[in-house]
Symmetry: T
C-alpha cells in the first residue's frame, strides 16, 4: 500500500494535541484514507502577553489506491 | 551517578502528555530509579478520519548503581 | 519590525501546553511585546516512578522598537 | 524552470531501491514531468519476526510549466 | 485559521532572494491566500565553471477555509 | 499498546536491505513481538579497496505487554 | 576572549543579506563589540500573493570583557 | 558480526573524556564485547556557580553472538 | 521552577572541558543561580599550524524567581 | 592512525548499495587505504517517469601515513 | 557519471549569493567540470558594528572521469 | 579571503582535545594556512572493555590564495 504525505498546520486554544486534532479534521474534509500523523513543529501565538493559540504542524500520511 | 537510557513509545487517547506518562508507567514496571525523560517524537494514529490515539516516543533516563 | 529571541524553560504538572504557557507567563514579567513561541524541547521530571512535572523549552520572539 | 515537491511512501518486499521505485511509479500516474527524488526515511514492517515489507519515504521533484 | 504547506523550488540568475520570490510567484498562480515561506535549501547550477542559476527550495504556507 | 525500542547494527555482503534484515533476525532471537524498524545509519566496511560488507543501524520497535 | 550570543530576526524588502544587516544594525544599538553572525533561518512574509518582506534569523556573537 | 547499542550517561569531575570513560566502565560491568562508542551529548552540572561535574551521553556498541 | 537559557562561547588553551568551565565562570559574574549547561559546538583556533585555543559554545540554564 | 574523509557521489541502475559500491570503486583509483564509508544522502534520477539511476552520496574514510 | 564534493567558504561585501559565486570562482581555478553547489552555512563578519563581509560555505559537486 | 575545508579524524589516548590536536598536526603536514577547526563527531575505540583511544572527526578550514 503506497502512502502520500500532506503537511498541515492546525490550531487550538486548548493545547498541542487539540491543535494536531484540528489539523487532521481539516485534512479529512478533502483527503480520504488518512492513516497517521507525525508532529513536525509546535508553536504558539501570543496576544497581550498571553498564549492565545497553540499551533501544531503535522505531516499526515494517507493511503492511495494503486489500481 | 551514572544513568542509562531506554526508549519507549507510550500511547493515550487524551493527548501527548498522557502518552508520555503512559510510557513512563510502563518503564516503571521493569526499571527502577527513573529520573527524567525527553520527547523524541510525537505521532498519532488516525481511524475513520479522526485521531484515535496519540503516541509519544520518549527517552527515559534512570540511575544505575555503580557499586 | 525587528524581533529578538529569548529561550525559557517552563514547567507544569498538567502537560506540555501548560508548561509552554508557564514559560510565556514568566517571560511576560520582564519582556514586552511578546509575539509567538516555538517549542525547542519537551521533557519531564520523574519522582517515585511517576511523571512529577512536564517541561517545555521554548524560544519566545518579541518585537523591539527600532527608533 | 520551477519545480514542485511531493512526498510519497513506497513499499516493496525486495528492498529499499525497489520501494523508492514503487513510490515513483505511483506518483507517475498523477503527476507529469518527474525529475528526481531524495530519500527522506527508510523503514520496514515486521510480521512473524521477519521483515515483511521495506518502505522508502521519498521527496519527488517535478517540473511545472510557468506559462 | 488552518494552514497547508506546499514545497516549491524557485530559480533566478540574480540571487537567493529572487529565487525565493520566483517560487512564491509560481505558487500564487494555483494557490490562494499565501501567507509566508521558509527556506529549506539553497543551491545553484554551475555551467562553464560559473554559477548560472540560483535555486531556493521553500515551504510556502497558505490559509485554507475550514467552513 | 506500548512499544519499546532497541537499536541493532546488522551486516550483509548483499546490500543495505539485507543488512537491515540481518539486524531484525538477530533481534528476533531474544525479543518477541517485533513490529517495525527505522534505518538510523547506513555504512560499509572496505577491504582491499572494495566494499566487503554493508551495515545498517536500525531502531527496532516491539510491543510489550502492559498487564 | 569570551563571547556571548544573541538571536535576532531582521527584516528587509530587498533580500536575505539586507535582512541580516538589519538584524546586526538593531543589535548594534544596545550591544557593543559585535564580531560575527550566523544565519539560523531564512523566511519571508507574503502579502497579496507577493513576497512583501524577507526575514533573517541570525545568531550574533559579541565579545565580553572578562575583567 | 552483529552489534547492539546501549546508551549511557557517564560523569566525571575531570572532563568530557573522563566522563565518557566512566560510561564505558559502567557498561563493561554488565555487557561483554564492547567495541566502540559515539558521543551523543556533552553536558555539565553547575553547583555554587562552578562546574561540579561533566556529563557525557554516549552510545556504546557491542558485539553479540549470532549462534 | 522556571529557567532561562544564555549562550556563551568559552575558550581555553587546555581543552574542551576547560573552555566550557571558562564559559560558566564568565556567565557566573552577571547571572545568578546557574544550574547546568549543554555543549552546542566545539571549535578551535589554529595559529602557526598548531591549535592555539579550544572553544566551547554552551547553553547555560539558570533558575529565575517567579515571585 | 589518522584518517581523512572524501565525499563522493556514486551511481547505479541497480540500487543504493551498488551506487555506494560505485563511489568506493572510483575513490579507490586515486586514494589508497580506504577503510569504511557512511551514507550521507540517497537520491535518484527519473527519466520518462521511471527511476533511471540511483545515487548514493557517501563519505569515505581512508588511513594516512603520519610518518 | 560519478561526482566528488569539495567544501569552500566564499566571501563578498555584496550578499550571500555573491559569496557563493566567489566560492565557485575559486574552486573553478583548480577543479574542472563543476556542476552544482549546495549552501551549508551562511555567516558574516562584523567590523565597527556593521556587517563587513558575507560568507557562504558551499559544497561544490564536480564530475570525475571514471576511465 | 576564501577558505577550503578538509575533514580529518584524529586520535589520542589522552582525550578529545588531544585527538583534535592530532588531526590538526597531520593536516599541517600537507596543507598550509590552517585557520580553525570545528568538531563534527567524537568517538572512541574500546579494547578489553576499556577506552583504548579517543577519536575526534574535525573539519579544518584553511586560507587559499586567490591570485
Amino acid at each position: 500500500m503506497v502512502q502520500k504525505v500532506t503537511e498541515v498546520v492546525g490550531t487550538s486554544t486548548q493545547g498541542f494535541a487539540a491543535a494536531a486534532k484540528n489539523a487532521v479534521e481539516v485534512a479529512a474534509k478533502t483527503v480520504r484514507n488518512l492513516r497517521w500523523f507525525r508532529v513536525v513543529e509546535l508553536e504558539g501565538q501570543i496576544r497581550e502577553q498571553k498564549v492565545s493559540e497553540f499551533k501544531a504542524t503535522v505531516k499526515i500520511y494517507f493511503d492511495i489506491e494503486e489500481g
